[in-house]
C-alpha cells in the first residue's frame, strides 16, 4: 500500500505517471552529462493532419505525438508542436479543446492529477522531459508557470517573490535575495507600485497587480520558459493591457507559451499561433497568417467568431 521506494522523488499524484511514462521515449539516451532525445518524426494519423508549420528550426521545446488521457477519456490526440526560442506562441481554441492540458504537459503539471496519463515525447533543449533521469523540481524551475486565476500565497509581497529562490537555494544572503526580489518585481513592472509595501500581504493587491506578482514570482527563479494559462481571464481590460505589454517585454529573455481565450490577445502578443480543436492541433503558423489567411475551415470558423 505505502508507496514504493522509487516513488519518493515524486509528489502526491506523480506516481502513476512514473510507471506509465516514457515507454515511447525509449530512444532517450544519455550523452555526456546531458540527456538528449532523438526526436522521432511526427507520425500522422489517418484521419487528421495538422495544417501549417508545427516545427521550427531553433526549438526551445519540442513535443511529438502527444496523447493525454484522463482515465479513459482522451483529452489530446496525436499532437506534435515545437516552441521556438524566445518566441511567444499562443494557443487558442474553444473551451475543452485541450490547449491548457497541452500546456500543462510541458512542465509536467499534469503529474499531480492522479487520473492523467501522458504519452509522447517531450524535450527541453533536447533533454527528455519525461525521461527516467528528468527531475520535476529542476524542470519546473526551468519551465515556470502562471495560472489562470492570480494565486499569490497568503504571504507578504516580498515573501511571494522570494519563495522560489528560497526553496531552490538561489540566494546566499539577504542582500542577494533583496536583489532578486527587486529585479523580478521590476521585470514584472510591478516594483514601482509596491516598493513601499513589500511586507504587505500579496493577497491585498488588485487582480492585475496580483497576476503581475505571480509573474514576478515565476521569473524569480530565472526560468527559461514561461507557460501562461489564460493569465488575463480574470482581469479587467486595463490590467490585461499591462500584462500584454509585460509579455512583450519578457520575450526578450524568455520563451513564452500562452493559452488564451481571446483571439485579439493572441494576435497582439504572439508570433506564432496554434489552434486546437477537440484535443487535436488543427493548424499552426505565423500569427499574422493564421488570423488573416486561415487554411483550415475550423480555424476560420473560430477566428471569425462562429463558435467558441
Amino acid at each position: 500500500m505505502l508507496v514504493t521506494e522509487a516513488d519518493y522523488l515524486l509528489a502526491a499524484g506523480e506516481k502513476k505517471m512514473k510507471s506509465s511514462e516514457s515507454k515511447g521515449a525509449a530512444a532517450t539516451r544519455e550523452v555526456g552529462n546531458k540527456r538528449s532525445l532523438d526526436i522521432r518524426e511526427h507520425v500522422e494519423q489517418d484521419d487528421y493532419r495538422t495544417i501549417g508549420s508545427p516545427f521550427v528550426d531553433d526549438a526551445k521545446m519540442t513535443a511529438r505525438n502527444v496523447n493525454v488521457f484522463y482515465d479513459e477519456k482522451q483529452a489530446i490526440t496525436n499532437v506534435s508542436l515545437d516552441i521556438g526560442r524566445n518566441e511567444v506562441i499562443a494557443m487558442i481554441g474553444p473551451s475543452g479543446c485541450g490547449k491548457s492540458t497541452f500546456l500543462r504537459t510541458l512542465n509536467r503539471m499534469n503529474d499531480i492529477i492522479p487520473s492523467c496519463r501522458v504519452q509522447g515525447e517531450f524535450a527541453l533543449d533536447g533533454e527528455d522531459i519525461y525521461g527516467e533521469e528528468q527531475d520535476t523540481v529542476l524542470l519546473r524551475a526551468r519551465v515556470g508557470m502562471v495560472f489562470q486565476k492570480p494565486n499569490p500565497f497568503p504571504k507578504s509581497i516580498y515573501e511571494n517573490v522570494a519563495y522560489g529562490p528560497r526553496i531552490h537555494g538561489l540566494a546566499h544572503n539577504k542582500s542577494e535575495m533583496d536583489e532578486i526580489v527587486e529585479d523580478s518585481l521590476r521585470r514584472a513592472s510591478l516594483f514601482e507600485e509596491v516598493k513601499e509595501q513589500l511586507d504587505k500581504p500579496g493577497t491585498g493587491l488588485s487582480g492585475g497587480q496580483q497576476q503581475r506578482l505571480c509573474i514576478a514570482r515565476a521569473i524569480a527563479v530565472s526560468p527559461e520558459v514561461i507557460l501562461m494559462d489564460e493569465p488575463c481571464s480574470a482581469l479587467d481590460p486595463i490590467a490585461t493591457a499591462r500584462i500584454e505589454e509585460l509579455i512583450d517585454e519578457l520575450k526578450e529573455n524568455y520563451t513564452i507559451a500562452i493559452v488564451t481565450h481571446s483571439m485579439q490577445q493572441a494576435a497582439r502578443v504572439s508570433q506564432r499561433t496554434a489552434y486546437f480543436h477537440m484535443g487535436k492541433l488543427i493548424e499552426v503558423g505565423d500569427t499574422k497568417q493564421i488570423f488573416t489567411m486561415p487554411a483550415h475551415q475550423l480555424t476560420e470558423n473560430y477566428i471569425t467568431g462562429r463558435f467558441g
Binding site: 520535476t136 523540481v137 524551475a141 519563495y163 526553496i167 515565476a218
Partner: protein
C-alpha cells in the same frame, strides 16, 4: 389516574377534536357549496382544533409533572413538626426520603417514627388528590381548547395560516431550547457556585495552592480556607492535556497531511474510516484501557529504567487521552488543509517546489489559523474529558509538572465530590459546582475563540 393514561386520553381527545373540527368545517359550509367555500382545506380546520386541544393541555401536564414532587414535598414539610428543622440538611433529606418511601409503599412503617408516618399519610393523600386534579385539569383544558377552536370555525377563517403559524412557533421553540440549555447550565452551575463562594472566598478558590476537600468536612471544622485552592487541579488538568496534545497533534496533523497530500485515493478511503474508529470508542473504554493496560505498562517500563512512576501517572492518562483525540485532530486538520485552494498547491509545485516544501512553506502557513482553532477545540475536549481521568488519574491534588507522578483534574474532582450521597449545604458538594463553573467557562472560552478563528479562516477562502 396514571400519567400514561392521562396522556393517552389526551391523545384521544386530540383525535376527537380533529375529527370534530373537520366535520364542523363541512357543516358551516353546507349551505354555501360545501368545502369549496372554505378558505382552507377541511383537514386544516381539524388540525387547528386538534392543536388547540393538545398544546395547552400538554404544557400543563408537563409543568405539573415537573413541579409535582417538589411542591408536594414542601407542603408536607411545612406541616411537619419542628424537630425536622433542627436537623442538618442532609439528615432532613434522609428523614424525608423515608417519608416519601413510606407514602409510596416502599418503606415499612415499623422503621419510622410516628411523625414520619403522619407525614407519610399526608403525603399520600396529597399525591392522590394531585393525581385527580392533574387529570381533571388536563382534560378540562383540552376540552376548552377544542371547544374554543371549533366554535371559531367559519368559512372565512384562515385555518391553514393559523395552523402553520402554530407550527412555526413550535419549531422556533425547539431551536430556542439550545439557548435554554446554555442558560440552564449557566444558571444551575452559577447558583450553586455562588453558595459555595459564600463559604469560601473566591480568591482562595482561584489562587489557593492546596486542594483537600476531605479535611474540611469534620464536624467542628468550618471549611478551612486554603483547602479549596483550584491551582493544583488546574495544573493537573493542563499537565494531562499537554501530554495528550503532545501525542495527538503531531500524529493527527501528520496523518491528515499524509492522507490528503500523499496517499492514494484507495489508501485514504481505507485508512480514514479505520482511524476514525478511535473517535467512536466510548471514553469509558479508554479509561479501562488506561487504568488496566497502559498505566501498569508505563510503570513497569519506568521501573525497568529505574524511574519512580506512580501507578496512576499523568503520563498514562494523558497518553490514552491523546490516542482518543488523534482522529479529532486528524479530521479537523484534514478539513482545514483541504480548504486551502488547489491554486496554492499548483503555484508552488509549478515553480519546482517539492511536495513537502509546498506543505511546510505554503499549505501549513496558509492553514495555520484554522489548525490553531482546531487544536484549541481539541484542548477544550481534553480539559473536559472525564472518564479517562476518573479511571486512570489520581485523586489527591499534587502541584507538580512531572508526568510520572499522579495528579488529579477538575473533572475527576467533580465526579468524586458528587458521586454518592450528596448534601447540598456542604461546601464539599458545592465545590463541585464551582469547579463545573470554571470548567464550563474555560471550555466555553476556548470554543468561542476556536470557532471564531476557524470561521474567519474559512471565510478567507470562500
Amino acid at each position: 389516574m396514571e400519567t400514561t393514561t392521562v396522556f393517552l386520553v389526551l391523545i384521544l381527545l386530540t383525535v376527537i377534536s380533529f375529527l370534530t373540527g373537520r366535520k364542523r368545517s363541512h357543516a358551516v359550509t353546507s349551505g354555501q357549496g360545501g368545502a369549496r367555500a372554505l378558505h382552507s382545506l377541511p383537514k386544516h380546520y381539524g388540525y387547528m382544533a386538534g392543536l388547540w386541544a393538545l398544546l395547552p393541555a400538554l404544557t400543563v401536564l408537563v409543568l405539573w409533572l415537573l413541579f409535582e414532587s417538589s411542591i408536594l414535598a414542601s407542603i408536607v414539610k411545612d406541616d411537619m413538626p419542628g424537630e425536622l428543622w433542627q436537623m442538618s440538611e442532609s439528615e432532613q433529606g434522609l428523614y424525608f426520603n423515608q417519608v416519601v418511601g413510606y407514602a409510596r409503599g416502599a418503606t415499612d412503617a415499623d422503621m419510622l417514627d410516628p411523625a414520619q408516618i403522619v407525614a407519610g399519610d399526608h403525603y399520600r393523600a396529597l399525591a392522590e388528590s394531585s393525581r385527580v386534579i392533574k387529570a381533571l385539569l388536563v382534560f378540562v383544558i383540552a376540552l376548552l381548547g377544542a371547544l374554543l377552536a371549533i366554535r371559531r370555525i367559519h368559512p372565512k377563517l384562515r385555518a391553514r395560516n393559523h395552523v402553520e403559524k402554530i407550527f412555526k412557533w413550535l419549531l422556533f421553540s425547539c431551536s430556542l431550547l439550545a439557548v435554554l440549555t446554555t442558560l440552564g447550565i449557566v444558571l444551575s452551575v452559577l447558583f450553586e457556585a455562588i453558595r459555595f463562594f459564600q463559604a469560601i472566598p473566591i480568591a482562595d478558590f482561584l489562587f489557593g495552592l492546596q486542594w483537600s476537600p476531605q479535611t474540611a468536612i469534620r464536624a467542628d471544622q468550618v471549611a478551612a480556607s486554603g483547602s479549596f485552592g483550584i491551582v493544583p487541579l488546574f495544573v493537573g488538568t493542563l499537565l494531562i492535556s499537554t501530554v495528550a496534545m503532545i501525542i495527538a497533534v503531531p500524529v493527527g496533523l501528520m496523518s491528515a497531511i499524509y492522507l490528503s497530500e500523499y496517499a492514494t485515493r484507495r489508501f485514504r478511503a481505507f485508512t480514514k474510516p479505520v482511524l476514525e474508529i478511535l473517535a467512536g470508542v466510548p471514553t469509558v473504554v479508554y479509561g479501562f484501557f488506561a487504568a488496566l493496560t497502559v498505566a501498569p505498562f508505563i510503570r513497569n517500563v519506568g521501573e525497568a529504567l529505574g524511574l519512580h512512576v506512580a501507578s496512576e501517572s499523568a503520563l498514562a492518562a494523558g497518553l490514552v487521552m491523546g490516542i482518543m483525540i488523534i482522529p479529532f485532530v486528524m479530521s479537523l486538520s484534514d478539513d482545514i488543509i483541504n480548504a486551502v485552494p488547489d491554486t496554492m498547491r499548483e503555484a508552488s509545485l509549478g515553480m519546482g517546489a517539492t511536495m513537502n516544501e509546498t506543505i511546510r512553506k505554503v499549505l501549513l502557513p496558509a492553514a495555520l489559523p484554522g489548525i490553531v482553532g482546531g487544536i484549541l477545540l481539541a484542548v477544550s475536549r481534553a480539559i473536559g474529558e472525564t472518564m479517562i481521568v476518573v479511571m486512570a488519574a489520581g485523586l489527591s491534588a499534587r502541584l507538580t509538572i512531572n508526568p510520572l507522578e499522579a495528579v488529579t483534574t477538575i473533572t475527576v474532582q467533580i465526579v468524586t465530590l458528587l458521586v454518592g450521597d450528596q448534601e447540598f449545604d456542604n461546601p464539599k458538594t458545592l465545590a463541585a459546582f464551582a469547579l463545573g463553573l470554571v470548567l464550563f467557562f474555560v471550555t466555553l472560552l476556548l470554543n468561542i475563540i476556536a470557532l471564531y478563528v476557524v470561521r474567519k479562516y474559512r471565510e478567507q477562502y470562500e
